[in-house]
Subunit: 221 residues, 2 copies
Amino acid sequence: MVEGLRTRKKERTRRAISEVAIAMFLEHGFDRVGVAEIAAAAEVSKPTLFRYFPSKEDLVLQRIADHRGEAAAVVRARPAGRAPLDALHDAFMAGLDAREPTTGLCDHPAVLAYHRLVFDTPSLASRVAEYAAAETEALAEAMGEAAGFAPRAPAGASRPVPHLTPRLVAAQYVTVRQILARDNYAALASGRTAGEVYGEAVAAAGTAFELLRHGARAHGL
Amino acid sequence: MVEGLRTRKKERTRRAISEVAIAMFLEHGFDRVGVAEIAAAAEVSKPTLFRYFPSKEDLVLQRIADHRGEAAAVVRARPAGRAPLDALHDAFMAGLDAREPTTGLCDHPAVLAYHRLVFDTPSLASRVAEYAAAETEALAEAMGEAAGFAPRAPAGASRPVPHLTPRLVAAQYVTVRQILARDNYAALASGRTAGEVYGEAVAAAGTAFELLRHGARAHGL
DNA sequence: GCAACTCGGTCACAAATGCAACCGAGTTAA
DNA sequence: TTAACTCGGTTGCATTTGTGACCGAGTTGC
Protein backbone atom coordinates (compact mmCIF):
# COMPACT_ATOMS: atom_id res chain seq x y z
CA MET A 1 0.00 0.00 0.00
CA VAL A 2 2.96 2.22 -0.58
CA GLU A 3 1.74 3.38 -3.96
CA GLY A 4 -1.95 4.10 -3.93
CA LEU A 5 -4.03 6.53 -5.94
CA ARG A 6 -4.00 8.98 -3.07
CA THR A 7 -0.23 9.21 -2.89
CA ARG A 8 0.20 9.46 -6.63
CA LYS A 9 -2.34 12.25 -6.99
CA LYS A 10 -0.89 14.19 -4.11
CA GLU A 11 2.59 14.11 -5.57
CA ARG A 12 1.24 15.14 -8.93
CA THR A 13 -0.64 18.05 -7.40
CA ARG A 14 2.40 19.21 -5.45
CA ARG A 15 4.54 19.18 -8.58
CA ALA A 16 1.89 20.92 -10.65
CA ILE A 17 1.52 23.76 -8.16
CA SER A 18 5.24 24.28 -7.78
CA GLU A 19 5.92 24.21 -11.51
CA VAL A 20 3.11 26.58 -12.34
CA ALA A 21 4.26 28.95 -9.62
CA ILE A 22 7.89 29.00 -10.74
CA ALA A 23 6.89 29.52 -14.35
CA MET A 24 4.76 32.50 -13.40
CA PHE A 25 7.44 33.93 -11.13
CA LEU A 26 10.01 33.63 -13.88
CA GLU A 27 7.76 35.44 -16.30
CA HIS A 28 6.50 38.28 -14.12
CA GLY A 29 8.68 38.40 -11.00
CA PHE A 30 8.19 36.97 -7.55
CA ASP A 31 6.16 39.74 -6.00
CA ARG A 32 4.18 40.65 -9.06
CA VAL A 33 2.28 37.37 -8.91
CA GLY A 34 -0.30 36.72 -6.21
CA VAL A 35 -0.92 33.36 -4.61
CA ALA A 36 -4.53 33.51 -5.74
CA GLU A 37 -3.44 33.68 -9.38
CA ILE A 38 -1.11 30.73 -8.87
CA ALA A 39 -3.84 28.68 -7.28
CA ALA A 40 -6.19 29.48 -10.13
CA ALA A 41 -3.59 28.60 -12.77
CA ALA A 42 -2.79 25.33 -10.99
CA GLU A 43 -6.53 24.57 -10.76
CA VAL A 44 -6.47 24.35 -7.00
CA SER A 45 -8.08 26.39 -4.23
CA LYS A 46 -6.04 28.78 -2.14
CA PRO A 47 -6.31 26.75 1.09
CA THR A 48 -5.18 23.66 -0.78
CA LEU A 49 -2.16 25.52 -2.07
CA PHE A 50 -1.20 26.40 1.48
CA ARG A 51 -1.80 22.84 2.64
CA TYR A 52 1.00 21.81 0.32
CA PHE A 53 3.32 24.77 0.83
CA PRO A 54 3.48 26.60 4.15
CA SER A 55 4.37 29.91 2.53
CA LYS A 56 4.68 31.63 -0.81
CA GLU A 57 8.45 31.27 -0.68
CA ASP A 58 8.22 27.51 -0.32
CA LEU A 59 6.60 27.34 -3.74
CA VAL A 60 9.97 28.23 -5.17
CA LEU A 61 12.23 26.56 -2.63
CA GLN A 62 10.62 23.16 -2.89
CA ARG A 63 13.19 22.20 -5.51
CA ILE A 64 15.97 23.02 -3.12
CA ALA A 65 14.26 21.36 -0.19
CA ASP A 66 14.04 18.17 -2.23
CA HIS A 67 17.78 17.76 -1.75
CA ARG A 68 17.50 17.94 2.00
CA GLY A 69 19.76 15.45 3.74
CA GLU A 70 21.56 14.46 0.59
CA ALA A 71 25.05 15.10 1.91
CA ALA A 72 24.33 13.15 5.07
CA ALA A 73 23.01 10.28 2.96
CA VAL A 74 26.16 10.30 0.86
CA VAL A 75 28.29 9.97 3.97
CA ARG A 76 26.22 7.16 5.37
CA ALA A 77 26.17 5.24 2.09
CA ARG A 78 29.90 5.62 1.38
CA PRO A 79 31.91 2.51 0.46
CA ALA A 80 33.66 0.76 3.33
CA GLY A 81 37.02 2.29 4.05
CA ARG A 82 36.32 5.52 2.16
CA ALA A 83 36.62 8.72 4.18
CA PRO A 84 33.48 10.90 4.46
CA LEU A 85 35.13 13.87 2.76
CA ASP A 86 36.31 11.68 -0.09
CA ALA A 87 32.81 10.33 -0.56
CA LEU A 88 31.45 13.88 -0.67
CA HIS A 89 34.14 14.80 -3.17
CA ASP A 90 33.17 11.83 -5.35
CA ALA A 91 29.53 12.83 -5.17
CA PHE A 92 30.27 16.41 -6.17
CA MET A 93 32.37 15.26 -9.10
CA ALA A 94 29.56 13.01 -10.25
CA GLY A 95 27.22 15.97 -9.94
CA LEU A 96 29.47 18.09 -12.14
CA ASP A 97 29.58 15.29 -14.67
CA ALA A 98 25.80 15.06 -14.74
CA ARG A 99 25.47 18.84 -14.88
CA GLU A 100 23.26 18.75 -11.83
CA PRO A 101 21.71 22.14 -11.04
CA THR A 102 22.93 21.91 -7.44
CA THR A 103 26.52 22.14 -8.65
CA GLY A 104 25.85 25.38 -10.48
CA LEU A 105 27.12 23.79 -13.67
CA CYS A 106 23.81 23.34 -15.47
CA ASP A 107 23.39 25.77 -18.34
CA HIS A 108 19.80 25.05 -19.23
CA PRO A 109 18.10 28.42 -19.59
CA ALA A 110 15.32 27.47 -17.19
CA VAL A 111 17.82 26.54 -14.49
CA LEU A 112 19.77 29.73 -14.98
CA ALA A 113 16.60 31.76 -14.74
CA TYR A 114 15.68 29.88 -11.58
CA HIS A 115 19.01 30.79 -10.03
CA ARG A 116 18.49 34.42 -10.89
CA LEU A 117 15.00 34.35 -9.45
CA VAL A 118 16.17 32.92 -6.14
CA PHE A 119 19.18 35.12 -5.64
CA ASP A 120 17.55 38.31 -6.87
CA THR A 121 14.65 37.96 -4.45
CA PRO A 122 15.81 38.77 -0.92
CA SER A 123 13.15 36.81 0.90
CA LEU A 124 14.07 33.76 -1.15
CA ALA A 125 17.82 34.11 -0.77
CA SER A 126 17.51 34.36 2.98
CA ARG A 127 15.47 31.20 3.08
CA VAL A 128 18.18 29.36 1.18
CA ALA A 129 20.56 30.22 3.96
CA GLU A 130 18.24 28.57 6.46
CA TYR A 131 18.16 25.42 4.42
CA ALA A 132 21.93 25.42 4.35
CA ALA A 133 22.02 25.61 8.12
CA ALA A 134 19.70 22.65 8.48
CA GLU A 135 21.76 20.77 5.95
CA THR A 136 24.87 21.44 7.98
CA GLU A 137 23.34 20.06 11.12
CA ALA A 138 22.23 16.84 9.43
CA LEU A 139 25.61 16.36 7.84
CA ALA A 140 27.37 16.96 11.14
CA GLU A 141 25.40 14.16 12.67
CA ALA A 142 26.31 11.73 9.93
CA MET A 143 29.94 12.74 10.19
CA GLY A 144 29.90 12.24 13.92
CA GLU A 145 28.72 8.70 13.42
CA ALA A 146 31.35 8.12 10.78
CA ALA A 147 34.09 9.35 13.06
CA GLY A 148 32.98 6.96 15.76
CA PHE A 149 31.69 9.60 18.13
CA ALA A 150 28.64 8.34 19.96
CA PRO A 151 26.25 11.28 19.50
CA ARG A 152 25.33 12.85 22.81
CA ALA A 153 21.65 13.08 23.62
CA PRO A 154 21.14 15.87 26.14
CA ALA A 155 18.14 15.71 28.43
CA GLY A 156 16.04 18.49 26.94
CA ALA A 157 16.97 18.10 23.31
CA SER A 158 14.84 16.22 20.81
CA ARG A 159 17.81 15.27 18.65
CA PRO A 160 21.34 14.28 19.49
CA VAL A 161 23.95 17.02 19.21
CA PRO A 162 27.15 16.13 17.32
CA HIS A 163 30.54 16.93 18.71
CA LEU A 164 32.36 20.09 17.80
CA THR A 165 34.76 18.74 15.21
CA PRO A 166 32.18 17.10 12.95
CA ARG A 167 30.11 20.26 13.15
CA LEU A 168 33.04 22.40 12.09
CA VAL A 169 33.87 20.13 9.18
CA ALA A 170 30.25 19.93 8.08
CA ALA A 171 29.89 23.69 8.18
CA GLN A 172 33.03 24.11 6.15
CA TYR A 173 31.84 21.60 3.56
CA VAL A 174 28.51 23.33 3.13
CA THR A 175 30.16 26.72 2.79
CA VAL A 176 32.75 25.47 0.33
CA ARG A 177 30.08 23.81 -1.76
CA GLN A 178 28.13 27.04 -1.94
CA ILE A 179 31.19 28.88 -3.18
CA LEU A 180 31.92 26.26 -5.82
CA ALA A 181 28.35 26.37 -7.07
CA ARG A 182 28.33 30.14 -7.05
CA ASP A 183 31.51 30.29 -9.09
CA ASN A 184 30.16 27.84 -11.62
CA TYR A 185 26.92 29.75 -11.90
CA ALA A 186 28.77 33.02 -12.32
CA ALA A 187 30.82 31.55 -15.16
CA LEU A 188 27.68 30.34 -16.92
CA ALA A 189 25.91 33.64 -16.30
CA SER A 190 28.67 35.37 -18.25
CA GLY A 191 27.68 33.38 -21.29
CA ARG A 192 30.02 30.39 -21.32
CA THR A 193 28.72 26.86 -21.70
CA ALA A 194 28.86 24.12 -19.09
CA GLY A 195 31.25 22.16 -21.28
CA GLU A 196 33.69 25.03 -21.42
CA VAL A 197 33.63 25.57 -17.67
CA TYR A 198 33.72 21.91 -16.70
CA GLY A 199 37.52 21.59 -16.50
CA GLU A 200 37.90 24.60 -14.24
CA ALA A 201 35.04 23.40 -12.09
CA VAL A 202 36.71 20.06 -11.54
CA ALA A 203 40.01 21.72 -10.69
CA ALA A 204 38.33 24.14 -8.30
CA ALA A 205 36.58 21.27 -6.56
CA GLY A 206 39.92 19.46 -6.27
CA THR A 207 41.48 22.47 -4.63
CA ALA A 208 38.56 22.98 -2.31
CA PHE A 209 38.38 19.42 -1.05
CA GLU A 210 42.18 19.30 -0.73
CA LEU A 211 41.92 22.33 1.51
CA LEU A 212 39.19 20.68 3.53
CA ARG A 213 41.23 17.53 3.95
CA HIS A 214 44.58 19.01 4.93
CA GLY A 215 43.85 22.49 6.22
CA ALA A 216 45.02 25.89 5.20
CA ARG A 217 48.45 25.60 6.75
CA ALA A 218 49.66 23.37 3.94
CA HIS A 219 48.76 26.21 1.57
CA GLY A 220 50.71 28.85 3.44
CA LEU A 221 47.67 30.35 5.17
CA MET B 1 -23.46 28.05 -8.95
CA VAL B 2 -21.71 29.46 -11.97
CA GLU B 3 -18.45 27.70 -12.71
CA GLY B 4 -16.26 26.73 -9.78
CA LEU B 5 -13.30 24.43 -9.54
CA ARG B 6 -15.51 21.70 -8.12
CA THR B 7 -17.86 21.63 -11.09
CA ARG B 8 -15.07 21.77 -13.63
CA LYS B 9 -13.15 18.90 -12.08
CA LYS B 10 -16.23 16.75 -11.77
CA GLU B 11 -17.12 17.17 -15.41
CA ARG B 12 -13.54 16.39 -16.38
CA THR B 13 -13.52 13.26 -14.26
CA ARG B 14 -16.83 12.09 -15.68
CA ARG B 15 -15.57 12.52 -19.23
CA ALA B 16 -12.25 10.85 -18.48
CA ILE B 17 -13.89 7.77 -17.00
CA SER B 18 -16.37 7.41 -19.82
CA GLU B 19 -13.78 7.87 -22.55
CA VAL B 20 -11.32 5.48 -21.00
CA ALA B 21 -14.06 2.89 -20.57
CA ILE B 22 -15.29 3.16 -24.14
CA ALA B 23 -11.77 2.94 -25.49
CA MET B 24 -11.13 -0.23 -23.52
CA PHE B 25 -14.47 -1.74 -24.50
CA LEU B 26 -13.78 -1.04 -28.15
CA GLU B 27 -10.41 -2.70 -27.93
CA HIS B 28 -11.27 -5.80 -25.91
CA GLY B 29 -15.07 -6.14 -25.86
CA PHE B 30 -17.64 -5.09 -23.32
CA ASP B 31 -17.53 -8.10 -21.06
CA ARG B 32 -13.85 -8.80 -21.33
CA VAL B 33 -13.02 -5.64 -19.39
CA GLY B 34 -13.70 -5.39 -15.66
CA VAL B 35 -14.81 -2.24 -13.92
CA ALA B 36 -11.76 -2.44 -11.67
CA GLU B 37 -9.46 -2.19 -14.70
CA ILE B 38 -11.41 0.78 -15.99
CA ALA B 39 -11.19 2.54 -12.66
CA ALA B 40 -7.46 1.92 -12.52
CA ALA B 41 -6.91 3.19 -16.07
CA ALA B 42 -9.00 6.30 -15.35
CA GLU B 43 -7.07 6.84 -12.10
CA VAL B 44 -10.10 6.77 -9.84
CA SER B 45 -11.27 4.30 -7.23
CA LYS B 46 -14.03 1.82 -7.89
CA PRO B 47 -16.57 3.52 -5.59
CA THR B 48 -15.87 6.82 -7.29
CA LEU B 49 -16.54 5.25 -10.66
CA PHE B 50 -19.92 4.07 -9.43
CA ARG B 51 -20.66 7.46 -7.91
CA TYR B 52 -20.51 8.85 -11.43
CA PHE B 53 -22.14 5.96 -13.29
CA PRO B 54 -24.82 3.82 -11.66
CA SER B 55 -23.87 0.73 -13.65
CA LYS B 56 -21.27 -0.63 -16.03
CA GLU B 57 -23.63 -0.10 -18.95
CA ASP B 58 -23.96 3.59 -18.18
CA LEU B 59 -20.26 4.02 -18.84
CA VAL B 60 -21.06 3.46 -22.49
CA LEU B 61 -24.53 4.97 -22.63
CA GLN B 62 -23.52 8.29 -21.13
CA ARG B 63 -22.97 9.66 -24.61
CA ILE B 64 -26.50 8.77 -25.54
CA ALA B 65 -27.93 10.01 -22.28
CA ASP B 66 -26.28 13.37 -22.93
CA HIS B 67 -28.90 13.99 -25.58
CA ARG B 68 -31.74 13.41 -23.17
CA GLY B 69 -34.59 15.83 -23.69
CA GLU B 70 -33.14 17.25 -26.87
CA ALA B 71 -36.25 16.72 -28.95
CA ALA B 72 -38.44 18.30 -26.29
CA ALA B 73 -36.08 21.27 -26.16
CA VAL B 74 -36.26 21.68 -29.93
CA VAL B 75 -40.03 21.82 -29.78
CA ARG B 76 -40.05 24.33 -26.95
CA ALA B 77 -37.45 26.56 -28.63
CA ARG B 78 -39.06 26.51 -32.07
CA PRO B 79 -39.64 29.82 -33.89
CA ALA B 80 -43.07 31.39 -33.42
CA GLY B 81 -45.60 30.00 -35.87
CA ARG B 82 -43.52 26.95 -36.79
CA ALA B 83 -45.18 23.59 -36.20
CA PRO B 84 -43.46 21.18 -33.77
CA LEU B 85 -42.94 18.52 -36.41
CA ASP B 86 -41.44 21.05 -38.78
CA ALA B 87 -39.03 22.21 -36.10
CA LEU B 88 -38.00 18.60 -35.49
CA HIS B 89 -37.53 18.13 -39.20
CA ASP B 90 -35.33 21.22 -39.36
CA ALA B 91 -33.26 19.98 -36.44
CA PHE B 92 -32.77 16.59 -38.02
CA MET B 93 -31.69 18.17 -41.30
CA ALA B 94 -29.18 20.32 -39.46
CA GLY B 95 -27.93 17.19 -37.73
CA LEU B 96 -27.40 15.46 -41.06
CA ASP B 97 -25.54 18.49 -42.31
CA ALA B 98 -23.25 18.50 -39.29
CA ARG B 99 -22.79 14.72 -39.53
CA GLU B 100 -23.96 14.36 -35.96
CA PRO B 101 -23.54 10.83 -34.64
CA THR B 102 -27.16 10.77 -33.48
CA THR B 103 -28.31 10.90 -37.11
CA GLY B 104 -26.28 7.82 -38.00
CA LEU B 105 -24.53 9.82 -40.70
CA CYS B 106 -21.14 10.20 -39.04
CA ASP B 107 -18.48 8.07 -40.65
CA HIS B 108 -15.67 8.65 -38.20
CA PRO B 109 -14.22 5.23 -37.42
CA ALA B 110 -14.55 5.77 -33.69
CA VAL B 111 -18.25 6.56 -34.02
CA LEU B 112 -18.86 3.55 -36.23
CA ALA B 113 -17.08 1.31 -33.77
CA TYR B 114 -19.16 2.80 -30.98
CA HIS B 115 -22.35 1.94 -32.83
CA ARG B 116 -21.19 -1.60 -33.31
CA LEU B 117 -20.27 -1.90 -29.66
CA VAL B 118 -23.70 -0.75 -28.49
CA PHE B 119 -25.78 -2.82 -30.88
CA ASP B 120 -23.68 -5.96 -30.63
CA THR B 121 -23.91 -6.03 -26.84
CA PRO B 122 -27.42 -7.14 -25.79
CA SER B 123 -27.39 -5.52 -22.37
CA LEU B 124 -26.44 -2.21 -23.99
CA ALA B 125 -28.95 -2.40 -26.82
CA SER B 126 -31.78 -3.04 -24.40
CA ARG B 127 -30.81 -0.03 -22.37
CA VAL B 128 -30.97 2.15 -25.47
CA ALA B 129 -34.59 1.17 -25.83
CA GLU B 130 -35.30 2.41 -22.32
CA TYR B 131 -33.73 5.76 -23.12
CA ALA B 132 -35.92 5.99 -26.18
CA ALA B 133 -38.99 5.44 -24.06
CA ALA B 134 -38.03 8.20 -21.66
CA GLU B 135 -37.30 10.45 -24.60
CA THR B 136 -40.74 9.78 -25.97
CA GLU B 137 -42.42 10.75 -22.74
CA ALA B 138 -40.53 14.03 -22.48
CA LEU B 139 -41.29 14.90 -26.08
CA ALA B 140 -44.96 14.09 -25.61
CA GLU B 141 -45.14 16.59 -22.81
CA ALA B 142 -43.57 19.34 -24.87
CA MET B 143 -45.89 18.55 -27.76
CA GLY B 144 -48.89 18.67 -25.47
CA GLU B 145 -47.94 22.17 -24.44
CA ALA B 146 -47.39 23.16 -28.04
CA ALA B 147 -50.81 21.89 -29.02
CA GLY B 148 -52.40 23.94 -26.28
CA PHE B 149 -53.46 21.00 -24.12
CA ALA B 150 -53.17 21.85 -20.46
CA PRO B 151 -51.25 18.84 -19.14
CA ARG B 152 -53.29 16.90 -16.63
CA ALA B 153 -51.77 16.38 -13.20
CA PRO B 154 -53.38 13.29 -11.65
CA ALA B 155 -53.47 13.03 -7.88
CA GLY B 156 -50.91 10.28 -7.34
CA ALA B 157 -48.54 11.10 -10.19
CA SER B 158 -45.34 13.07 -9.73
CA ARG B 159 -45.41 14.40 -13.28
CA PRO B 160 -48.24 15.52 -15.55
CA VAL B 161 -49.44 13.00 -18.11
CA PRO B 162 -49.84 14.28 -21.69
CA HIS B 163 -52.93 13.56 -23.71
CA LEU B 164 -53.13 10.64 -26.08
CA THR B 165 -52.55 12.41 -29.38
CA PRO B 166 -49.26 14.10 -28.42
CA ARG B 167 -48.06 10.80 -27.01
CA LEU B 168 -48.84 8.98 -30.22
CA VAL B 169 -47.10 11.56 -32.35
CA ALA B 170 -44.07 11.65 -30.06
CA ALA B 171 -43.76 7.88 -30.13
CA GLN B 172 -43.98 7.88 -33.90
CA TYR B 173 -41.32 10.55 -34.16
CA VAL B 174 -38.91 8.63 -31.95
CA THR B 175 -39.48 5.44 -33.87
CA VAL B 176 -39.08 7.09 -37.24
CA ARG B 177 -35.89 8.76 -36.12
CA GLN B 178 -34.45 5.44 -35.03
CA ILE B 179 -35.18 3.95 -38.41
CA LEU B 180 -33.60 6.86 -40.24
CA ALA B 181 -30.47 6.66 -38.10
CA ARG B 182 -30.30 2.89 -38.49
CA ASP B 183 -30.54 3.15 -42.27
CA ASN B 184 -27.81 5.75 -42.40
CA TYR B 185 -25.58 3.70 -40.15
CA ALA B 186 -26.18 0.59 -42.27
CA ALA B 187 -25.17 2.47 -45.40
CA LEU B 188 -21.96 3.66 -43.77
CA ALA B 189 -21.25 0.20 -42.36
CA SER B 190 -21.24 -1.13 -45.88
CA GLY B 191 -18.30 1.09 -46.67
CA ARG B 192 -19.79 4.19 -48.24
CA THR B 193 -18.87 7.67 -47.01
CA ALA B 194 -21.17 10.12 -45.28
CA GLY B 195 -20.92 12.45 -48.26
CA GLU B 196 -22.12 9.77 -50.64
CA VAL B 197 -25.08 8.86 -48.47
CA TYR B 198 -26.08 12.40 -47.57
CA GLY B 199 -28.49 12.94 -50.46
CA GLU B 200 -30.41 9.74 -49.79
CA ALA B 201 -30.51 10.53 -46.08
CA VAL B 202 -32.08 13.92 -46.75
CA ALA B 203 -34.64 12.39 -49.09
CA ALA B 204 -35.47 9.64 -46.60
CA ALA B 205 -35.96 12.20 -43.87
CA GLY B 206 -38.23 14.18 -46.16
CA THR B 207 -40.37 11.12 -46.83
CA ALA B 208 -40.49 10.18 -43.17
CA PHE B 209 -41.56 13.59 -41.92
CA GLU B 210 -44.04 13.93 -44.73
CA LEU B 211 -45.57 10.68 -43.56
CA LEU B 212 -45.68 11.94 -40.01
CA ARG B 213 -47.36 15.16 -41.04
CA HIS B 214 -50.06 13.82 -43.35
CA GLY B 215 -50.50 10.20 -42.38
CA ALA B 216 -50.23 6.98 -44.32
CA ARG B 217 -53.53 7.36 -46.17
CA ALA B 218 -52.09 9.92 -48.49
CA HIS B 219 -49.55 7.28 -49.51
CA GLY B 220 -52.08 4.61 -50.25
CA LEU B 221 -51.63 2.73 -46.96
C1' DG C 1 -23.16 -31.27 -4.22
C1' DC C 2 -19.90 -27.99 -2.42
C1' DA C 3 -15.98 -25.04 -1.88
C1' DA C 4 -13.24 -21.48 -4.10
C1' DC C 5 -13.23 -17.74 -7.33
C1' DT C 6 -14.69 -13.91 -10.16
C1' DC C 7 -17.19 -9.79 -10.83
C1' DG C 8 -20.62 -6.09 -10.53
C1' DG C 9 -21.86 -3.17 -6.93
C1' DT C 10 -22.10 -1.18 -1.96
C1' DC C 11 -20.67 0.54 2.79
C1' DA C 12 -18.25 3.03 6.57
C1' DC C 13 -14.72 5.71 7.49
C1' DA C 14 -10.86 8.80 6.98
C1' DA C 15 -8.26 11.89 4.06
C1' DA C 16 -8.26 15.54 0.60
C1' DT C 17 -10.44 19.44 -1.47
C1' DG C 18 -13.39 23.56 -2.50
C1' DC C 19 -15.68 27.44 -0.80
C1' DA C 20 -16.68 31.58 1.55
C1' DA C 21 -15.62 34.32 5.00
C1' DC C 22 -12.27 36.14 7.81
C1' DC C 23 -7.67 38.03 10.08
C1' DG C 24 -3.77 41.18 10.31
C1' DA C 25 -0.26 43.82 8.38
C1' DG C 26 1.03 47.12 4.96
C1' DT C 27 -0.46 50.80 1.24
C1' DT C 28 -2.99 54.19 -0.69
C1' DA C 29 -6.18 58.10 -0.75
C1' DA C 30 -9.00 61.62 1.08
C1' DT D 1 -5.97 60.25 11.08
C1' DT D 2 -9.07 57.39 9.07
C1' DA D 3 -11.27 54.61 5.66
C1' DA D 4 -10.81 51.55 1.79
C1' DC D 5 -7.93 48.17 -0.51
C1' DT D 6 -4.53 44.58 -1.33
C1' DC D 7 -2.33 40.43 -0.15
C1' DG D 8 -0.35 36.55 2.43
C1' DG D 9 -2.36 33.22 5.23
C1' DT D 10 -6.17 30.83 8.17
C1' DT D 11 -10.65 28.69 9.66
C1' DG D 12 -15.16 26.03 9.65
C1' DC D 13 -17.82 23.35 7.01
C1' DA D 14 -19.73 20.71 3.21
C1' DT D 15 -18.50 17.88 -0.70
C1' DT D 16 -15.63 14.61 -3.00
C1' DT D 17 -12.45 10.94 -3.02
C1' DG D 18 -9.60 6.69 -1.77
C1' DT D 19 -9.37 2.50 0.92
C1' DG D 20 -10.50 -1.86 2.36
C1' DA D 21 -13.82 -4.78 3.51
C1' DC D 22 -17.94 -6.71 2.26
C1' DC D 23 -22.40 -8.67 -0.29
C1' DG D 24 -24.77 -11.60 -3.69
C1' DA D 25 -25.11 -13.81 -7.91
C1' DG D 26 -22.99 -16.63 -11.27
C1' DT D 27 -18.83 -19.93 -12.66
C1' DT D 28 -15.49 -23.19 -12.23
C1' DG D 29 -13.29 -27.27 -10.28
C1' DC D 30 -13.46 -31.41 -7.66
